[in-house]
């Protein structure tokens, strides 16, 4: 079930490098929040902090709190594996498991959780593929490898894989940047449908995309190279694109820089 997400004074480091400074924001349930900003401003890093993927990089660490309905995912005794089962993720490049069939890809997460019941797995695979608008295209070749699909289909397969474990939050790290415009449109439509069931955070380089799919938009920036990235402002998407509070935001969305 979709849940609310709060970041409180989050500071992110790679070793001694301070990558992101003091981010606080709130993501309401059943909403789409877009992170925009120039390259290197730390928006993907913030995204990866939410499901504790940041810490798999040696030397990476996080300060501050990331609350899922009030519970800190960095709290003592919280297993990052459980966090990642609750907060799903879709990556920039489609990454289905190449040796697995389409069906096995979709239920890979469930299998990891120990679900063995064949009927249950097949049922979930169909539901997830339908949710990802991929079912009609692959229903006849569920046992074929996922690597044989087109880029856009592979990305929807990855979305199906992420939603199959029924997470509370879905993180998307530039999910369309490796796709053609038609596949991009298919994913964007999908995002609007998925927010009925999930809380969605999406990183995108494409401002039109942010404007099309998101309810609120967060603009990240960095003062200078080597300085930590920071959250400049976050507001309703319409407000950000029509009448931003900060000068830097306006410059960025009107294309005056970045």
């Amino acid at each position: 079930m979709a849940r609310r997400l709060d970041l409180e004074h989050v500071n992110i480091y790679y070793g001694n490098f301070h990558a992101v400074s003091d981010v606080s924001l709130m993501v309401p349930p059943h909403s789409v929040t877009a992170f925009i900003g120039p390259s290197g401003c730390g928006k993907s890093t913030v995204l990866r902090t939410i499901n504790r993927m940041h810490e798999v990089i040696p030397g990476a660490r996080v300060e501050g709190r990331v609350l899922l309905d009030g519970e800190d995912v960095y709290g003592p005794g919280v297993d990052p594996v459980d966090v990642r089962r609750t907060i799903g993720m879709v990556f920039q490049r489609p990454n289905p498991f190449p040796t697995m069939s389409i069906r096995d890809n979709v239920v890979a997460g469930l299998k990891l959780q120990g679900v063995k019941n064949k009927a249950k797995l097949n049922e979930t695979a169909e539901q997830a593929l339908r949710a990802a608008n991929l079912w009609d295209e692959v229903r006849d070749r569920l046992n074929k490898p996922g690597g044989g699909l087109s880029g856009g289909q592979q990305q929807r397969l990855c979305i199906a894989r992420a939603v199959a474990v029924a997470p509370d939050v879905l993180l998307m790290d530039e999910p369309c940047s490796a796709l053609d415009p038609i596949s991009t449109l298919a994913i964007e439509d999908l995002i609007s449908e998925l927010k009925r069931d999930f809380t969605i955070v999406i990183v995108t380089h494409n401002m039109q995309q942010a404007a099309r799919v998101s309810d609120q938009t967060a603009f990240f920036n960095l003062r200078a190279t080597g300085e930590p990235g920071q959250l400049v402002e976050i507001d309703q998407t319409q407000k950000i694109f029509a009448n931003p509070t900060q000068r830097a935001t306006e410059d960025y969305i009107t294309g005056r820089f970045g």
Binding site: V81, R84, F91
Partner: protein, 356 residues
């Protein structure tokens, strides 16, 4: 580009300047877009242009490739030519006889069955020990060990491959064999009913350890580095996106390995193991030192002595004073040569089948 190649190829020589100009004009283009004069020359049909550098490099590559095939063919031919005269005067069936008697030139009796069985048994035994250990080391080095530790550790494993086989042989018979005696005795006492661990009178003593058991374990240590090195290389190349995909689904360390690293690296692991097997099959001097000769024929037990192809040939090499006599051993070498080919082909087939 394509926007002005169109009019260009259609145009005859007279029209060209005009069309180019209109194209450039239509595009609002600068003079830089004007195609160079030689571009307009249509390539003469049927004769693709190849640069001299490419031609030279191609010749070099083809001849190197051809050379290695030529060398292998020459070795095969040499073995065959040397073996045939001896095989013609062999008084027993070469493939099915267990005899090896080359004392009398007029009554040569040699068959390779025992050599083949011993070679294969000891090599497979080594492989069975080395494969899981290498897998463990390679996974540890690539997935678990901190970078600070992984590099020197990998270096030490590689160093193991640089130890000369004579050292392994001496270590095997003088250090390892006595150390293994309690294990061997236990196996023989408790599992002696199984042909693998039975010991007949006349076989090398368990204390001495001049048997396939010791030889196989030494071989396992010898092939460990190659299997580990090849596996490590492929495991390291597991795409980052795959690993992160599994992690993001809530996979534990081990589950990440199972869903991404192992499927990705399986083919490399198998081919590394086959390289190891190839080395084990051909290993000579360590086996020569460790294995005791025996009058008994091979029973399939790890506590038998005997000789492999390579150690048998090495043993007799000082006495090759006659081409026919030598031919008997060369024919054994020929079988070993074919055997390694078969192993390699089987490995490739296994990998190809796995990828499908």
């Amino acid at each position: 580009m394509s926007d002005h190649t169109g009019p260009q190829t259609d145009a005859t020589a007279d029209h060209r300047p005009a069309t180019s100009a209109t194209t450039a004009g239509a595009l609002g283009g600068s003079p830089a877009r004007q195609p160079p004069a030689e571009r307009a020359q249509p390539p003469s049909p049927g004769k693709p242009v190849v640069r001299r550098g490419d031609r030279l490099f191609r010749a070099a590559a083809v001849s190197s490739g051809g050379l290695i095939v030529g060398i292998i063919a020459a070795i095969g031919l040499f073995l065959l030519l040397q073996a045939v005269p001896a095989l013609r005067v062999d008084q027993v069936n070469f493939l099915t006889s267990r005899l090896w008697n080359t004392d009398s030139l007029t009554n040569l009796r040699f068959g390779i069955l025992d050599l083949l069985l011993i070679t294969v048994t000891v090599s497979l035994f080594a492989l069975i020990i080395a494969m899981p250990v290498s897998l463990g080391i390679a996974l540890f080095l690539t997935q678990y060990a901190p970078a600070r530790l992984a590099r020197p550790f990998a270096y030490v494993v590689d160093l193991l491959a640089a130890v000369p086989s004579i050292v392994f042989g001496l270590w095997g018979i003088f250090v390892l064999a006595p150390a293994l005696y309690p294990v061997a005795a236990w196996l023989n006492t408790h599992l002696g009913w199984l042909f693998l661990f039975s010991r007949r009178a006349g076989a090398p003593s368990l204390q001495g350890g001049g048997n396939l058991f010791t030889a196989g374990i030494v071989l396992a240590v010898m092939i460990l580095p190659i299997i580990t090195a090849v596996s490590r290389e492929v495991f390291e190349r597991t795409p980052r996106e795959q690993i992160e995909g599994a992690l993001a689904l809530g996979a534990t360390r081990w589950e990440v390995i199972r869903t991404t690293v192992l499927p990705f690296g399986r083919a490399g692991y198998v081919s590394g193991s086959m390289l190891g097997l190839g080395r084990a099959l051909g290993e000579t001097i360590a086996i020569y030192i460790i294995l005791s000769g025996t009058a008994l024929s091979f029973s399939g037990s790890l506590f038998d002595g005997g000789a492999t192809f390579a150690s048998k040939i090495a043993q007799a090499a000082p006495e090759f004073n006659n081409p026919t006599l030598a031919g008997a051993y060369v024919s054994a070498g020929l079988v070993l040569f074919v055997l390694t080919f078969v192993v390699n082909a089987a490995a490739r087939a296994a990998i190809a089948a796995g990828e499908r």
